[in-house]
Symmetry: C2
Subunit: 512 residues, 2 copies
């Protein structure tokens, strides 16, 4: 079979065998989500005992081996880069200052930082569970296009799917083992071409490293890690796999705290130790070593003033934040843009090693500001011209899918927006991935067709922020932590699986 | 807390924490069933991607330590007993002859054996994955009642829940670890009082032992184990856990074959090797080493003549049967009755060691035939008297719940039945278990109240049937293989969880 014919059409019997094997394995191994309300109405299952196979691809998607290996091998450099940015408050300030007037959310995050700074931070350790997202780019203007990885975005908060990613790579390996893939694929889908993602255990190990680095209890309470979460959360099993790995592999207790209930169930003592009191057991409280945010990354999570009070309270505490507000701000698209704008001088500030910096630079797609700088004025011409704009995507500062404006939709979108608000967005050259095909099972429906794959590489980084004579701080732990492949139909331009597009996938490496 | 107050009432917050932890853990670990049609209509989920938390108890049920230990320690004797019965065709024949005129199903199974015998069996190995079911009996006539285990029944075919049982004991252990049980229970629910059931891995190890004992392929095909199953099967994850353990721990391939499709997808070659051709891959066929029946135990599985043809075909084959027809017949209630009728001489035929036999005898509740023997005439008086019948249960020969007649329902039931058909039933003294309380989550509904617990002890036995000079054969492998606790509301008299009553449970040992 040639890769261009991959994956093969399935006979009815082949499809039945593959699907029944997949559906049973996925539930038996927690590769699951709570069903969408459009699939199961909440009134039908008020206590929430139903679950469904997570949206998954039937086949592992083809991915160039060299691109995958490059993505893994530069992750430690990316961890170092974003840790260094998060430690460089004055540089971050210069970035944020360009945004505070046009982006309320960034402004609020910055104010949170300033408010904590006024009293002084009491925890100099910070944890990042990062994910750098890429697509394979093939320059269509080349007659023999070389593939290379281009970064879509860098996530510094709530990097999701690390739990499910480990399971989906195990699923595809299982399907290969039981001969669920037709014989015709045997030259392509081989055990040595598949890669098991260690993301669940590796991210949990990162949280455990922070937990240990926190040291002993100062309040003579048992210690715990706090998962700050959205409620309800359909993607709960993804998070639970990290919790179970923390407990089973590392002996670390965790609690799930809906972000909106933070003020009710946590206390800061006079030394700013964070004390969590589980509502089910008011007489027993825990000292929180590490706060893992799986909420708080979007303005939607802050519907009332108390939510910002909650964020400030957590940020003030002695607990290690994953991430801190400054680390979250380092994930602004604006940061990605100033690094990736052609001829930018910023990268070498954070990555002094030229060889390392040039490898990272290779993964940047050109990104422009929409401000009054020279690059900004050039970008405005691209973004407002209907024919030129087709090569670009317009992105706000937010994490998470659903907010991007694509190609020919850009000029009319900007036309409706006062030009003073344009700097809230960045303009990024579209990455042009190679055409691929796959089949996706989602809410019980099977869809087959052209797809786009996005590779996420996880990274764990624990560092000490600078203070006193040591203004730069230091990285204590730094490792690459597995991968995610997310695949969506190529007619959709967004890729957040939880947001309702696409599926989790694993990769089948191909050479050349 | 005193055991009589166990389990405690839960506050709203305690219940919420326990339930949300339980619901997420169960799906993440495959402690699941496909939802009942009354819960999710098939039209809503035509491709079958939804699953639900399996019916489970919130708390591990209290169980006397001495009873549990006795149940485990006599399992090898029970394996030996039923293996010996299955190897003693002439004795089995004398039992079956009393039934063939009143029980069509037993008659058909016996005919199947005779038909295969005509041509001669070509496989002298047999595998039993047994489960001996007990209740704790407290003689209410004693002022200080001593507890003892009394056997409910002995299953020789399709002993279910070995997959889920391992998961539910792990669930209760997890809930204890995360403090989901209130502090007041700490003197009762302790890690050392819980027992992890190794049933999934141990039963899989049994199938793997048969697979290896089969020897190499005679047809130069790859080897496999065949799970012969019902279709559809809501309890599929229970079976899948055994399949996954076979593959992961033992490297053994399995296929699932709906019993009704046996004739289409299997062939017997001239040497009676059983060849399975997966419908998804017609060009690749497998030689079957071991047939594991999770179907075929009930007359409902034989709706057409071809189903009996299928059973004969499988029985004729060289594959090791789990169980063989004779082993299935050894599980007749009539066998249990002749062993357990007071003053029965039969037990010592199979268990010559008097000490072993007397321990097994201790676990028998009195069982009577309803025939013209002396014991039978006595039993008829008990069964037809409305006041005496309240101490008894009437059972047909079938495996599986749903067919028993209890207490005062017995006399009117017999009245409607011609007396010539009475010998199809056995009359058994009711076991009177101690009063217990628990809470069960089932189809999303939480029910709390009095419960009855049934302990199942699994056993693996691989033996060689007698032939030639060695008429008695020999036991090759024999081990106790974990346990199941099944718990049902005490207003229901039946206990098959899959049949719609009760829940899977684990035990919390108490002394005395």
């Amino acid at each position: 079979m040639s890769p261009t014919d991959y994956p093969p059409e399935l006979s009815k019997q082949e499809e039945e065998y593959l699907l029944s094997s997949l559906k049973d394995w996925s539930i038996a191994h927690g590769l699951a989500v709570r069903p969408a309300p459009s699939f199961v109405q909440p009134s039908q299952d008020p206590s929430g005992v139903l679950a469904s196979t997570a949206p998954v691809t039937l086949f592992p998607s083809l991915f160039p081996r060299s691109c995958f290996e490059e993505g893994l091998s530069i992750q430690k450099a990316y961890n170092e880069l974003y840790s260094a940015i998060a430690r460089d408050e004055s540089w971050l300030k210069s970035i944020v200052e360009e945004l505070v007037h046009v982006d309320d959310f960034v402004a609020k995050l910055w104010q949170t930082h300033l408010e904590v700074k006024k009293e002084g931070y009491v925890q100099d350790l910070s944890l990042g569970l990062f994910r750098s997202d890429y697509m394979v780019h093939q320059d269509p203007s080349q007659s023999n296009p070389l593939s290379g990885l281009k970064q879509v975005e860098f996530n510094t908060i709530a990097s999701s799917f690390g739990g499910l990613s480990s399971q989906v790579s195990a699923l595809h390996n299982y399907l290969l083992t039981i001969d669920a893939y037709p014989n015709s694929t045997s030259s392509i889908i081989k055990h040595e071409a598949l890669r098991q993602s260690q993301s669940a255990s590796s991210l949990a190990k990162g949280l455990a490293a922070a937990h240990r680095a926190y040291g002993g209890s100062r309040t003579k309470r048992p210690l715990c890690v706090l998962f700050v979460v959205q409620d309800p959360e359909r993607n709960v099993f993804d998070q639970r796999h990290l919790e179970y790995a923390l407990l089973e592999d590392n002996g670390v207790r965790t609690f799930r705290l809906p972000f909106g209930e933070t003020l009710s169930h946590t206390q800061l003592d006079t030394d700013r130790n964070l004390v969590y009191t589980p509502p089910n057991s008011p007489s027993k409280s825990y000292e929180v070593t590490t706060i893992y945010f799986r909420a708080g990354y979007s303005p939607d999570d802050y519907s009332k003033d108390e939510d910002w009070d909650a964020r400030i309270k957590l940020e003030k505490s002695r607990a290690i934040k994953c991430p801190s507000v400054l680390t979250q701000l380092a994930g602004c698209k604006k940061v990605q843009q100033v690094l990736a704008t052609p001829h930018s001088p910023h990268l070498k500030r954070f990555l002094p090693d030229e060889k390392v910096a040039s490898r990272v630079l290779e993964t940047f797609a050109p990104i422009y500001p929409l401000d009054n700088s020279e690059a900004g004025e050039e970008a405005k011409k691209l973004a407002t011209d209907a024919s030129l704009a087709t090569k670009y995507v317009l992105k706000p500062q937010r994490e998470g899918g659903g907010n991007n404006i694509y190609r020919k939709a850009i000029p009319p979108f900007l036309q409706k927006l006062p030009e003073t608000h344009w700097p809230a967005y960045i303009l990024m050259e579209m990455i042009e991935p190679p055409p691929l095909t796959n089949a996706i099972l989602r809410n019980g429906e099977l869809q087959r067709g052209g797809v786009i794959c996005e590779l996420g590489v996880y990274g764990v980084c624990l560092w000490r922020n600078g203070s006193g004579n040591d203004q730069k701080g230091e990285v204590l732990e730094n490792w690459e932590a597995g991968y995610l492949l997310r695949t969506k139909g190529d007619q959709s331009e967004e890729g957040g699986v939880a947001a309702g597009f696409g599926a989790v996938d694993s990769l089948c490496l191909v050479d050349g």
